[in-house]
C-alpha cells in the first residue's frame, strides 16, 4: 500500500490480471467484501466483453464485484481513480505526454472570453454532457490554471471555479438579460471533479510522478463519522441479534400444548407403519416475530453515540419486520416511516436530524416526560410479546425521573432492556439517574461498540454473560 508521503515504489507486475488484483485489493481496503470467487467471476466476465469499450468493461466488473448500491458507489469512485491513475502511470513510464501527440488544447492563441467559457460550462452542466465538460475543463485550465497554479489541486479547483463565477443555486441573469437556470450542487461537483482530474493529469505531466493515493474515506464517502466502528460491523451484530431473538420463543413456549396436527407430515410418517397413522405429527409452532420498540435518545449529550445508535436502528429495521422506532429528547417522535422509506443511512440520518420535532425549548433530555408520553400514547400497543429497548444515557438534567411511570411501562412490556453509551463507572454520576431505571429493566448494558452489542445479544439469547 502506498505511504502518505510519496508515490508507490514500483508499478508491480505487468498485465491486466495483476492490475485487476490490485484494484480488488483497494476495494477491500475500503470495506467492499470481494472474495476470490468474485474475482474469478470478474475474470470470466471480462473474457466475454470488449475491453476497448470502457462502459462494458466497467459494467462487467461491477456486475461481478459490487453487489449492492453502497458497494457500487465505492466501486465507481475507486474505478475512476484506479484506472485513471494506472493509465497515467503507464504514460509517465513511457514518457508520453499529450503535447507530443498533437496540437495542445489551448487552441490557436486567441484570448479566451471568460463569459463565453462560463456560459458554455453552464450549458454542459445542465445537459450533463461528460465529454463536453472534460474538454471545457481543459480549456479552463489552459486559460487560468497554468502558470498561476498554487500546486495544490483542491485550491486550484476552487480558484478556477470562482474566476468563472460558478456557484450553486440561483444564478444572476445573463449579460443579455435572459434568465439562467439555477445550478444544482451535484452538477457543480461533477464539473469540479473534471477540473480536478485534468489538473492532476497536468501535474503528472509536468512533474512526471504520481501524487500519493489518498484513502477514499477522506475524500468522497459520506458515511457516519463514528470513530468507533463502521456500519457493516453494526449490521452483522444486529443480524445475529435477530436470529437469537427469533428463536428465543421456542424454549419459553410449551411443546405439546395446544398444537395443530400437520396432516401432511402425519401421512408421510404413516408410510413407516404401512399406511396406518400411528404417530401424530404436529405443526411446528412458527416463532412469532418479536415485536420490538426502540426508543433512542438523540440529544447533544450523546451525539457520537447517537450516530452509533442510529446505525443500530437502521440495521434493526433491515432485519426485523415489526419494529417501531422512536427518537426522543424532550418529546417522542416516531421515526418508523423514515426508516421504511429510506434504506440509505446518510439520508436517514439527515432526515431525522432535520425533521426532528423532538426538541423543545432547551434541547436537553427529559426522561420523565418521555415516559409519560410513551405510557399515554403508545403503551396500549404493548403486550407480553413485546420487547422494548431504550438507547440512552439516563441523564435527565435534574428533571423529575418518573421512575414509577417507567415501572408501569416495564410491567406492560414483555421485556425491557436499556443500552447505555457510558461506561458503568459513570452511571449515577451527576444527573444520571440510571439506578432509578435499572431496577425495572430486565437488563441494563453499557454499549458503545459492536462488541458490546454482541455481548447484549448473547445475554438476551440466554447465554452466560461474558466476564468483564
Amino acid at each position: 500500500m502506498p505511504t502518505p508521503y510519496g508515490p508507490k515504489a514500483d508499478a508491480g507486475p505487468p498485465g491486466l490480471a495483476a492490475k485487476l488484483l490490485g484494484f480488488c485489493e483497494e476495494l477491500r481496503g475500503e470495506g467492499v467484501a470481494v472474495g476470490t470467487s468474485e474475482m474469478l467471476d470478474a475474470f470470466a466476465a471480462l473474457s466475454e466483453v470488449d475491453w476497448t469499450r470502457r462502459e462494458d468493461f466497467r459494467e462487467a466488473l461491477a456486475a461481478t464485484i459490487a453487489k449492492s448500491q453502497d458497494d457500487r458507489r465505492v466501486f465507481e469512485l475507486l474505478f475512476e481513480r484506479y484506472f485513471f491513475r494506472t493509465a497515467e502511470a503507464e504514460a509517465v513510464q513511457r514518457g508520453v505526454t499529450e503535447h507530443a501527440e498533437g496540437a495542445p488544447p489551448a487552441g490557436d492563441g486567441e484570448r479566451f472570453d471568460m463569459s463565453e467559457l462560463s456560459e458554455a460550462i453552464r450549458e454542459a452542466m445542465q445537459a450533463g454532457d461528460e465529454d463536453q465538460m472534460r474538454d471545457l475543463a481543459r480549456l479552463a485550465i489552459a486559460a487560468f490554471g497554468r502558470g498561476e497554479g498554487s500546486g495544490v489541486v483542491g485550491v486550484d479547483v476552487q480558484r478556477i471555479r470562482r474566476t468563472l463565477g460558478l456557484t450553486a443555486g440561483q444564478q444572476p441573469p445573463a449579460e443579455d438579460g435572459s434568465e439562467r437556470p439555477p445550478i444544482d450542487r451535484d452538477q457543480l461537483t461533477g464539473f469540479e471533479r473534471h477540473l480536478r482530474r485534468e489538473l492532476e493529469r497536468d501535474l503528472i505531466e509536468r512533474t512526471e510522478t504520481l501524487p500519493p493515493s489518498r484513502p477514499l474515506a477522506e475524500l468522497d464517502r459520506a458515511l457516519p463519522t463514528s470513530p468507533t466502528q463502521d456500519l457493516a460491523a453494526v449490521h452483522r451484530a444486529v443480524s445475529q441479534m435477530k436470529r437469537r431473538l427469533a428463536t428465543l420463543g421456542h424454549e419459553q413456549r410449551g411443546r405439546k400444548k395446544g398444537q395443530m396436527v400437520d396432516v401432511r407430515r402425519t401421512m408421510r410418517a404413516s408410510l413407516e407403519t404401512g399406511g396406518v397413522p400411528l404417530r401424530l405429527r404436529y405443526r411446528p409452532k412458527r416463532p412469532r416475530r418479536p415485536e420490538i420498540y426502540v426508543l433512542c435518545d438523540v440529544s447533544t449529550s450523546v451525539t457520537s453515540a447517537s450516530v452509533f445508535f442510529l446505525s443500530v436502528l437502521h440495521a434493526l429495521h433491515d432485519s426485523f419486520r415489526k419494529l417501531r422506532s422512536f427518537v426522543f429528547i424532550e418529546r417522542i417522535s416516531e421515526v418508523t416511516d423514515v426508516f421504511e422509506h429510506e434504506r440509505d443511512f446518510a439520508a436517514v440520518a439527515q432526515k431525522i436530524s432535520s425533521e426532528g420535532g423532538v426538541a423543545d425549548v432547551s434541547g436537553y433530555t427529559d426522561y420523565g416526560r418521555v415516559w409519560l408520553e410513551f405510557l399515554e400514547e403508545i403503551s396500549e400497543d404493548l403486550d407480553p410479546r413485546s420487547t422494548v429497548i431504550v438507547l440512552g444515557d439516563a441523564r435527565t438534567n435534574g428533571r423529575e425521573p418518573h421512575a414509577e411511570v417507567f415501572a408501569r411501562i416495564a410491567e406492560k412490556a414483555g421485556r425491557l432492556f436499556w443500552l447505555n453509551p457510558e461506561p458503568k463507572l459513570y452511571w449515577n454520576y451527576g444527573d444520571s439517574v440510571m439506578s432509578a431505571y435499572e431496577r425495572h429493566c430486565d437488563g441494563a448494558f453499557e454499549c458503545w461498540t459492536t462488541k458490546h452489542l454482541e455481548n447484549f445479544v448473547n445475554v438476551v439469547a440466554g447465554a452466560k454473560p461474558a466476564a468483564e
Partner: protein
C-alpha cells in the same frame, strides 16, 4: 438463439418490446455466456420482472415462474412427494411383490410432484427461471436455493441428485426491502435497475403507446419525473407511465394542464396522502399553460 455480443442482446430485447439500458443488456449477455444467475434489484415497477419475461420471449425459452412470499417453503417451491398416491400404492399392491419391491417403487419419480424449481432443472428444453421478489422470503429459503444457484442441481434424499441437463437462465428479482445474504449474492451477477432517464422513458412510452404525439409524450415524462422527485409513499413506476399515456390517448388530451392532470392523477399515484401531496405541489406548477418547460 446464439447471441454473440451485447449489442445483439440489446436489439433482441428491443425486438420483443423491452428497451434495456447498457448495464441490463450487458448483464443479460454475461448471464447467458457464463451461465450464472442474475440478481436484479431496484425500486418497484422499473421492469425487473419484465426483463425476465422479455428474455424468455427473445430467446424463445419457456418462462418458469416462482413467486416468492413469506412462508414459502420447500414443498411449494421445489418438490413434494405425492403421499396420497404412495399410500394407495401401498394398499393396492400389498399382495404382489415383497417389501423391497414396494419400498423402491413408492419413492420413484412417478410419485414426485415437481414444483417450479424442480421443473426448471429437469426440463428437457432450456428455460428461463424467474424467482420473483425473493426479498419477501427469509434466510432459510435463500439457503435452500444455494445449491440450485451454484450447481444447478437439487438433492432429494430418497432419489439422489437431479442435475440440470440444460442450463436455465435464472433471474432473481428483489424490491430491495431487505438485505439479502452474502452467500446468495456471491453466486449471482448483480444488476441495479433504476428509473430511466428522460429520453429512454420517452422511448418506452412511445413504444407502448405509439399514437401519442411526441410533444405530449415529452410533457408526460417530465411531469412524471417531477412527481417522482416528491417524497411519495409510492412513486409512479414505468408501468404507470405507460398506463397514463394510454389514458391520455383515450381522453383525447392534447396537453397536460391542471384539469387533465387532476382528472387522471389517480392513474399514477395510488395513496390518498400522495394524491393530496401532488395535487398541491405539481398541480400548481401546471396551472400556467404559458410556462415554458425546460
Amino acid at each position: 438463439m446464439p447471441q454473440g455480443s451485447v449489442a445483439e442482446v440489446k436489439d433482441a430485447l428491443a425486438g420483443v418490446g423491452y428497451l434495456a439500458d447498457e448495464p441490463a443488456a450487458l448483464v443479460s449477455f454475461l448471464a447467458q455466456k457464463l451461465g450464472k444467475p442474475v440478481l436484479v434489484e431496484g425500486p418497484a415497477g422499473v421492469g425487473k420482472t419484465e426483463l425476465a419475461k422479455a428474455l424468455s420471449r427473445a430467446t424463445g425459452r419457456e418462462l418458469v415462474r416462482l413467486q416468492c412470499y413469506e412462508g414459502l417453503d420447500e414443498a411449494k417451491a421445489m418438490y413434494e412427494w405425492n403421499y396420497r398416491k404412495q399410500l394407495l400404492r401401498i394398499q393396492a399392491g400389498g399382495a404382489q411383490g415383497g417389501w423391497d419391491h414396494v419400498q423402491d417403487d413408492i419413492f420413484s419419480s412417478e410419485f414426485l410432484l415437481t414444483r417450479p424449481l424442480m421443473q426448471a432443472i429437469s426440463s428437457p428444453e432450456p428455460v428461463v427461471l424467474l424467482i420473483d421478489e425473493i426479498d419477501k422470503t427469509d434466510q432459510e429459503f435463500e439457503a435452500m436455493l444455494l445449491e440450485l444457484l451454484s450447481d444447478f442441481q437439487i438433492t432429494i434424499p430418497e432419489l439422489g441428485r437431479i442435475e440440470a441437463t440444460t442450463m436455465p437462465i435464472v433471474v432473481l428479482t428483489s424490491n430491495d426491502s431487505r438485505e439479502l445474504t452474502e452467500a446468495l449474492k456471491r453466486r449471482c451477477l448483480y444488476l441495479w435497475l433504476d428509473y430511466p432517464e428522460l429520453e429512454r422513458e420517452m422511448e418506452i412510452v412511445r413504444l407502448h403507446a405509439p399514437d401519442l404525439p411526441e410533444t405530449l409524450a415529452r410533457r408526460l415524462v417530465e411531469v412524471i419525473r417531477m412527481v417522482r422527485d416528491l417524497d411519495l409513499k409510492k412513486p409512479p413506476s414505468i408501468a404507470e407511465s405507460i398506463d397514463w399515456a394510454r389514458t391520455l390517448l383515450l381522453m383525447g388530451a392534447e396537453d397536460i394542464d391542471r384539469e387533465t392532470f387532476t382528472q387522471s392523477m389517480s392513474i399514477i399515484v395510488k395513496h390518498r396522502t400522495d394524491i393530496d401531496l401532488i395535487a398541491e405541489r405539481v398541480g400548481v406548477k401546471l396551472a400556467d399553460p404559458l410556462r415554458a418547460e425546460g
